[in-house]
């Protein structure tokens, strides 16, 4: 069973990486780019077979390790 955890900086937190990428895109001529925010995601492969249980478990992992609650928020998605 596979789950994905998407981690993003909270909206109020400054994202220097996103800004630099946006600047680069503008320089490359993509003038319609208004903003870029960068995030990361984790694809977790689990032995579990129950989707609900997997989701609970991965949410716990996100809370504990994958996301930094001080500046980041996250979203968990369970795949097939």
């Amino acid at each position: 069973m596979k789950a994905r955890v998407y981690v993003t900086l909270k909206p109020s937190v400054f994202d220097p990486q996103g800004r630099v990428v946006a600047d680069a895109l503008l320089t490359l001529g993509y003038e319609d780019v208004q903003d870029v925010r960068q995030g990361k995601f984790f694809e977790v492969e689990l032995a579990a077979t129950d989707a609900a249980a997997a989701k609970a478990r991965v949410t716990e992992m996100a809370d504990k390790l994958l996301a930094n609650p001080v500046i980041e928020s996250y979203r968990v998605e369970v795949l097939a």
Binding site: P16, V20, V21
Partner: protein, 233 residues
């Protein structure tokens, strides 16, 4: 001879390379701004270490679009010697002037220390003055120096003797234990097929004075001087 050192926004070893080439080695050197299009009469070009554009997207990913890079490419196409050090190496990879890519160090963390590196090929303009299999002690300081190329590319690199430096032990032995970042085949530096473009992760420019821990890196710059002299002869 004249070394031109390109300054990207975020380069941080640009002045180190300039200082080594000029004050230490005693050659002409110039700092060239990345928005310029002229290499100021360079005999050799150095793309220095640092964090161009913060390395925020991928190392070297944005720098390759700098205006000066067309001039660097043209210079290399004419056979001019180009040396990419650390971030400069990463820029050469991103720009396709050298094959492969960098991923995070296998143990994730930034590694900063003096390491032995074995010279694998002396027929490049930056190793011409080295002895066969010479071991050089030079500092590494990077978080993404884990060299990767797909199996075909890697086989091609080896077959064409394009691997110029490997992480080794002090005696020149190559083993997983001497691999500082997980690079395939202990690769610390490579060259292009024409052998005039060389990239390496260790910092020869920071190892040109014994007082600072090692003067082994001088031979890299001295090689360029030697190679140029033999060319003009």
């Amino acid at each position: 001879m004249k070394f031109s050192v390109v300054v990207f926004p975020g380069s941080n070893s640009d002045y180190d390379a300039f200082y080594a080439a000029s004050t230490v080695i005693g050659e002409d050197a110039a700092l060239v701004w990345h928005k310029d299009t002229d290499l100021q009469g360079a005999d050799a070009v150095i793309l220095p270490g640092g964090f161009a554009h913060g390395d925020y997207l991928r190392t070297g990913a944005i720098a390759r679009f700098s205006p000066i890079m067309s001039a660097v490419q043209a210079f290399a196409d004419r056979g001019g010697p180009v040396l990419g050090i650390c971030n400069g190496f990463q820029i050469l990879l991103e720009s396709g002037m050298l094959p492969g890519a960098m991923v995070r160090n296998d143990r994730i963390k930034f590694v900063s220390r003096l390491v032995p590196v074995r010279v694998e090929a002396t027929d490049t303009p930056f190793t011409a003055a080295c002895a066969e299999r010479q071991v050089l002690h030079m500092p590494v300081a990077h978080g993404e120096g884990n060299y990767y190329a797909d199996p075909d590319t890697l086989a091609g690199l080896e077959a064409n003797r394009q691997v110029v430096f490997r992480y080794s032990d002090a005696a020149g032995g190559i083993s997983p234990a001497s691999n500082v970042n997980g690079s395939l085949n202990n690769i610390a530096g490579i060259c292009n097929r024409q052998r005039n473009v060389v990239g390496l992760m260790p910092h020869p420019e920071r190892a040109t004075e014994a007082q600072l821990g090692s003067a082994d890196g001088r031979v890299i710059l001295a090689s360029a001087v030697k190679a140029l002299a033999s060319l003009s002869r």
